[in-house]
């Protein structure tokens, strides 16, 4: 409910069950931070994400995983044992009252427990069931095991990073999971929009491999158009730019546009380093590759003496596109992010601490992105959620003793 103090949320009133783990939890976070009531359902032993570091103060503890914390902000949490008939029955009852069920338990997992899309829809035609799997619900790889690295490999992304001739390397973090979770959120919200206008839910089948392949489009375009295979080439990713070493790290730069090259030459002139780059011969389009190389050769020593931030500020003043290669430790002190009030303080009541979190990926003026609460403790809201189903405390207690959660 919106009150005088709390603005409305874009996803107010949307009830979501989240049966994912590392491979999809970010999808539910996107919905929860926009106001959906997302209930994370974990096995009684806890999600795998709780056993994934880093941990707060490096103390290994399933209640201190920063990975779990980040992926589950604004959610409530409960446990259900879906290897027990009582647990499955409770999930069925919850799904009958939900708008969305997101799952990444594997192809056939829900159907094997009598909770196929058809069964769920029979009880609740409005339900949107979003299944995030490594390769999709059908096809020759449907039964294959996935993983972040495997998906970055089969999706064509790992190929594109690394030194020529050396092993490919995946992108930092777990992008094989994140791109799928992001696409799952888009697909889910399209289906929600349809369900809220027509009353008809549907099954949303998300393939993580396909999400990665979609993300490699700028390379795939060459394959479909000219047959050229783009290759990794260290930090001279010539079509898009180059990383240059500074005193304290790197800047990313690009001299692929003629106007940027012209401004770079002006900068070199101001620094007394222009050499022969004013020579009209460099304006010949045949000479562009060598011109770019010469600019790089002269700019490299110029930026090597400066910090990456000073370099970027000076270059940007001149409309030359350079930006610092920020470390994650640079970000908490980034003057731009601070000026935007980007970071989000989150109260961790059990620890008596307020911890700053990464802020929103977007700002919505009327329905602000907001972390509603810290990630749930294991089973924190099990009883509350079951009470909302109309179960009496005695019945809840009996189910707990029987091992349903």
């Amino acid at each position: 409910m919106a009150t005088a103090n709390i603005p409305p949320a874009a996803l107010d009133g949307l009830r979501v069950l989240d049966l994912t783990d590392l491979a999809g939890m970010y999808c539910g976070k996107l919905l929860a931070d926009l106001g959906a009531d997302v209930v994370l359902i974990e096995p009684p032993t806890g999600a795998q994400a709780r056993r994934m570091g880093p941990y707060l103060d490096d103390l290994i503890d399933p209640e201190r995983s920063l990975t779990f914390w980040y992926l589950n902000t604004s959610k409530r949490g409960m446990t259900l044992d879906l290897d027990q008939p009582d647990g499955v029955a409770l999930l069925g009852r919850l799904a009958a009252q939900a708008d969305v069920l997101i799952e990444s338990r594997g192809v056939g997992y829900l159907a094997g427990r009598g909770l196929s899309y058809a069964a769920l829809a029979a009880a609740n035609p409005r339900l949107v069931l979003t299944s995030i799997s490594p390769f999709g619900q059908t096809g020759p790889y449907a039964a294959y095991q996935g993983g972040d690295l495997v998906q970055q490999a089969l999706g064509g992304l790992a190929w594109l990073t690394g030194f020529a001739g050396q092993p490919p390397v995946k992108l930092g973090g777990t992008q094989g999971f994140e791109v799928a979770a992001q696409q799952a959120a888009v697909g889910t919200l399209i289906a929600v929009y349809a369900a809220e206008t027509t009353g008809q839910g549907q099954h949303v089948d998300v393939s993580s491999q396909e999400a990665v392949a979609f993300a490699t489009q700028p390379a795939a375009h060459f394959a479909t158009t000219t047959g050229e295979v783009l290759r990794r080439n260290g930090n001279d990713y010539a079509r898009y730019g180059v990383s240059l070493p500074c005193r304290d790290g790197f800047v990313a730069a690009s001299f692929n546009r003629a106007d940027v090259r012209a401004r770079a030459v002006e900068w070199l002139e101001d620094e007394g380093q222009v050499g022969d780059l004013r020579d009209p011969k460099w304006q010949d389009t045949e000479a562009t590759t060598e011109f770019r190389r010469q600019i790089l050769r002269r700019i490299t020593p110029l930026v090597a003496e400066r910090t990456k931030l000073d370099t970027a500020v000076e270059a940007q003043k001149r409309k030359i596109w350079m930006t610092p290669v920020n470390t994650t430790l640079d970000l908490p002190n980034d003057p731009h992010l601070r000026a935007r009030n980007y970071f989000a303080p989150v109260e961790h009541d059990a620890l008596g601490r307020v911890i700053e979190y990464p802020g929103g990926p977007y700002q919505l003026s009327a329905t602000p992105w907001r972390i509603r609460r810290r990630a749930p403790l294991l089973g924190e809201h099990t009883v509350a959620v079951l009470r909302e189903l109309g179960l009496a405390d005695a019945a809840i207690q009996a189910l707990g003793q029987a091992g349903a959660f």
Binding site: P8, D12, P54, L66, W69, D148, L149, A153, L154, G155, G156, A158, W159, L160, L171, G172, V179, A180, V186, G187, I190, A191, Y193, A194, V206, S207, S208, Q209, A211, F214, Q217, P218, A219, A220, H221, A223, T224, T225, R231, Y240, G241, S243, P245, G249, A252, S254, W321, T323, P324, V325, T328, L329, L331, P332, H336, Y342, P358, G360, P361, S365
Partner: protein
Amino acid sequence: MATNLPFEGIRVLDFSWVAAGPFATRFLADFGAEVIVVESGKRSGGLRGQAPMPPGRESPNTSTFFNSANTNKLSITVDMNLPRAQELMRQLATRCDVVVDNFRPGIMARWGLAYDDLVKVKPDIIVASMPMVGSTGPFRHWGGFGTTAFSLSGMLELTGFPESEPLACAIPFPDSSCNPTHFAVALLAALRHRRRTGQGQWIDASQMESTMAAIGPAILQALANGTQAERTGNREGTAAPCGIYRCAGDDRWCAIEVHTTAQWEALCEVMEHAEWRGDPRFRTAADRWANRAALDAAVEAWTTGLDPRTATERLQAAGVPAGAVNDSQDLVDNDPQLAHRAHFFSVPHPEMGQITAQNHAFRLAATPGRLGRAPLLGEHNEDVFGRLLGLSRQEITDLVAEGIIA
């Protein structure tokens, strides 16, 4: 009644001109929104000038990048330097539900097309911008290129092997992943709110911040612990073996990641090294992690003799997560799963005959959306100016003659 196109009746005025913006509005267009791309017929640049184009057929209509990012949209061309063109776009905006741009901050305001301008004439308008680092803050005027958001976000610094420098990717990764997806989530959420309450709003999506969201745990580590996440190459936590291993052939590789005892035992069996299970170096997960260098060498001795597809199929048949490192040509030609999902699809195109584009990662069973082509440059001038602004054919001809439609 279910419709194939949930956003039928939603109209978007789309000024976004480089990759991340068009990919975001494509999500709406493919599911029924009428997305009108506002272009310049004069100014080159943007995706229409972007490589690759089929050799010998270079034209504003043959960029694969443009054609992939703009499926099912309409195209109009105006010279936004002219006040009359700006006025026409303001009129058109009042007939739209959403206005989108990814210019640097200030340009839409100069044209009278900022949220503050439009909300006065269209109170429920949604205006969404995705500048490189957001619309506010001291660096708001910073420009960039494909790798900018990747570098600013911290993701570039996290990519690569611990013993070498941070590595960028050969493509502008955020442009076709976390930026358009996050932007689309914001647009979809705002559309839902508008449908339920009648309230529009302004969206500011910083490409830097959307990319940071994709490495949240590492940034939370910096904030909470004050420590830098390490570059860990191809490691996944403390799983071992876990990596990308050389296979037979030129520059061919296979990813393998083993997380459980069952997967480890299956791997030993597939590789015909049952004795590894009893080897004290590899007995527990902790042992395997401690002796990962020896383990990696042993695994690579097996993969080196096989092509990556064979290695993948043998390992997966036994339940071991594994996957060939596909290059782009493999994605197009050699991946049976992507072929099964028809990830690459072809549609007719007036200038090219056929064009190939890539599908999203989701399939919606009841409202599958539509596969279509991108518009030719200015293809819908007559339609949009006539149908939506009520201009006569003569008036449109005059606007063309005056260089306003251009």
